[in-house]
């Protein structure tokens, strides 16, 4: 083992996660470019349906694009404000963005984010009237709507689904118990922190490890959001 101790630095760096309709992705890229967001990663996801009937008829859940980037807090908050204006986040079906605090990273990435952030003024702070959490439910392929059906009565307003695949050998599958599929789906739900526990419990009861969905849950503290409509 190496003796080397990681470098410590005092800096507020944020991971910004933005979900928008794919047609807005170009506009977002331009906005982010201007904000100097150094690294952007793009993922394909889809929204969850708001009504069961519409979902069955295939008329609801549209495609979504997720964009991830790393920024200094000042730059991230300024970008959130600009995204909210530029994309009209918060109006129906536009999109939502949140930031999560990072606890570490590669020096080059952090330095780049710090450098860009120092150019920003601290003035534009995103005011948060309530605490927000990001709940992530990872379930077997095909159960994302079940997750939403359980989460909605507990206070969730919507979610984004990303398709993924279990990594790891067959042994791990055995460990989890029979029925964990290779293809998995991650459902991302933004909610008020006070409702987080209830939502997670409701999803666990319906789609937990004892159900067919074999879901595992986790939640992250969110720093700031734009475009979240919580009644």
């Amino acid at each position: 083992m190496s003796e080397k101790v990681n470098e410590k630095r005092r800096a507020s760096i944020r991971l910004l996660v933005l979900t928008v309709a794919p047609r807005l992705a170009e506009k977002v890229s331009a906005l982010m470019e201007r904000a100097g967001a150094p690294v952007r990663m793009r993922l394909a996801g889809r929204g969850t349906a708001s009504r069961e009937m519409m979902d069955m008829l295939g008329l609801d859940s549209g495609e979504k694009t997720l964009l991830l980037t790393v920024l200094h807090k000042h730059a991230a908050d300024a970008l959130l404000v600009r995204l909210r204006r530029g994309l009209k986040l918060g109006t129906a079906n536009s999109g939502v963005a949140c930031t999560v605090a990072l606890s570490g990273g590669s020096a080059r990435l952090i330095s780049l984010a710090q450098e860009m952030g120092s150019a920003q003024e601290t003035g534009r702070k995103v005011m948060m009237e309530y605490g927000v959490s990001l709940v992530i439910a990872i379930v077997n392929q095909g159960f994302s709507e079940e997750v939403m059906a359980a989460a909605r009565p507990a206070g969730a307003t919507g979610g984004t689904v990303i398709s993924g695949r279990r990594a790891g050998g067959e042994e791990t599958l055995q460990l989890w118990g029979f029925g964990v599929q290779r293809e998995r789906e991650a459902v991302l739900i933004l909610c008020r922190t006070e409702e987080k526990a209830a939502i997670m419990e409701a999803v666990r009861a319906a789609c937990g490890l004892e159900s067919e969905a074999k879901g595992v849950l986790l939640s992250l503290p969110v720093d700031s959001v734009a475009g979240l409509e919580l009644g």
Partner: protein, 511 residues
């Protein structure tokens, strides 16, 4: 109106309206048409809009999850032989049921229908199995395409000239609107089990390889059968005078198209049933969605095929015949190019392909860029086809250099684009091409006194060829742009900045 519904409506309007307006403009400005065919055309266009929307929705809900599921399951199966057998059976069954193939077989009177259909189906089966094997064994696509298309070019010298056009058309025709979404999704599923850096590009290429099969099959048949002349493909036009005639034309067409579509959906629906019984992959909610999706696909395609065959076909023939007359003869080329530019968008499987590409490449290749690329490609191919009619150029003189250019480009372009390019060739030539462009060129050919079998045919093959070149050129452009971006990114790293590669642990700054 839900956003999804709005998106689909907008998409299908964008696909169908431009070509409708162009044809109307031509009919007003250049070739005055009687109101009867125009009425048919407008009703057909309306059916196209609705049918296209339903078809897209259905493909998304039924074909895509099913194809991806089957693909993922095949990838997991350890032994190769059953996988190949399943792939062969799937390819052959889907092809036998393809309505376009029935039409093609009737246009080639020299070969008994059954012989033609079964050998083309076997061709697709063998090559689909080969394509699946390629993804599993990770053989590089460009080399395989090189070998197979090379064989195709060599063989084309041995085949009677009159067979050549039909053989190449067969390749474009067999990958129809039902096959495409399913096979595309199958590729994504097959490659989804992998996370190596070639996974994305390996999910393409299935359509490309499956369309070689029929070309080779028909060419081989051509060596054994004596060519005969085809009976003229343009149907006799019935007189349409009243609104009742218009309704009658469509209503009498519906049962036939309904039968065709049902028949071609049958093997896929049966596959879904068998697959679900064996693997229990889909939850109750998904099963229901897939079934509703099949319903949409079926209804959408019936409307689409009926609209395009009854409404667009006769107008195509009329346009071809009248433009080809003496004073406006040379207008065939620019007008054909104009029509070609806007007609690809209305090809139902194209939108499915574009969506698939956009999601697999995570937006690196946008649906918009693909649309433009295909439009330019087909624009050129229709232009060439019309030029060929006027100047009586043999088809081989265009196809062979074209394929040589396409193969040469495949050495230069990133493999992802090679797969996409050769796939889009097969996809671009669908029912819109066979039902509108083919009658157009048959009509023009009759007026120009050409040989229908060798000259009017081949337009499908050209439509299948040019997108291959166009998309690969876009790939080259993409590479150049990527390098520019890299240079731009390097410029961001200022001198004196910390560029060591170490891990930093962060603490929040004081607020």
């Amino acid at each position: 109106m839900t956003p999804k519904l709005r998106e689909k409506t907008r998409e299908s309007l964008c696909a169908v309206l431009p070509i409708t307006l162009i044809v109307l403009a031509i009919s007003v400005l250049i070739v005055p048409m009687e109101l009867g065919p125009v009425a048919l055309f407008l009703v057909g266009a309306a059916m196209l809009v609705v049918g296209m929307g339903l078809f897209q929705l259905g493909a998304e809900m039924a074909m895509t999850p099913l194809g991806e599921g089957v693909g993922a399951q095949l990838e997991r199966t350890r032994s190769v032989v059953p996988v190949l057998l399943i792939a062969f059976a799937m390819g052959a069954l889907i092809t036998i049921a393809e309505p376009d193939l029935q039409v093609l077989s009737e246009q080639v009177p020299a070969i008994p229908n059954r012989v033609l259909i079964f050998s083309v189906a076997a061709g697709v089966g063998v090559f689909l199995a080969l394509a699946v094997l390629r993804i599993l064994k990770r053989w590089p696509l460009p080399q395989m395409l090189m070998a197979l298309y090379g064989a195709m070019i060599v063989l084309s010298f041995l085949v009677p000239k009159s067979f050549l056009a039909v053989a190449f058309d067969a390749g474009g025709v067999t990958t129809g609107p039902i096959t495409v979404p399913f096979i595309m999704a199958l590729g994504v599923g097959l490659a989804s089990g992998r996370s190596d850096r070639n996974a994305a590009s390996d999910s393409f290429g299935l359509i490309a390889l499956s369309s070689v099969g029929p070309v080779l099959a028909v060419m081989l048949l051509g060596c054994f059968f004596r060519p005969q002349d085809a009976q003229s493909g343009s149907a006799s036009m019935q007189q349409v005078l009243t609104t009742r005639d218009v309704a009658q034309a469509f209503v009498s067409g519906l049962p036939q198209f309904a039968k065709e579509v049902m028949l071609s959906l049958l093997p896929i629906a049966a596959m879904f049933a068998a697959f679900q019984l064996l693997t229990h992959r889909y939850s109750r909610r998904q099963r229901l969605r897939v079934m509703i999706g099949f319903g949409y696909t079926c209804l959408g395609l019936v409307l689409f095929l009926c609209g395009v065959n009854v409404g667009f076909g006769p107008v195509g023939t009329l346009l071809g015949r009248s433009i080809a007359q003496e004073p406006t003869r040379w207008l065939l080329v620019p007008l054909g190019m104009l029509i070609g530019f806007f007609i690809v968008k209305a090809e139902p499987a194209i939108q499915v392909l574009n969506h698939q590409i956009q999601s697999v490449t995570n937006g690196a290749m946008s649906a918009r860029a693909m649309n433009l690329c295909l439009s330019v490609g087909v624009c050129i191919s229709v232009g060439l086809a019309m030029l060929r009619l006027i100047l009586h150029i043999p088809i081989a003189a265009i196809l062979i250099p074209g394929y040589l250019i396409a193969l040469a480009l495949s050495r230069l372009v990133p493999p992802l684009f090679v797969g996409i390019a050769f796939d889009s060739g097969g996809v671009a030539s669908g029912p819109m091409t066979t039902a509108f462009l083919l009658p157009l060129s048959i009509g023009a050919c009759e007026t120009l006194g050409g040989h229908v079998m060798t000259e009017a045919f081949g337009v499908v093959a050209l439509v299948a060829l040019t997108p291959i070149v166009a998309v690969q050129l876009m790939g080259l452009l993409y590479q150049v742009r990527l390098e520019q971006r890299l240079r731009h990114a390097r410029a961001l790293v200022r001198p004196g900045m910390d560029v060591r590669d170490v891990i930093v642990e962060l603490e929040e700054e004081a607020a």
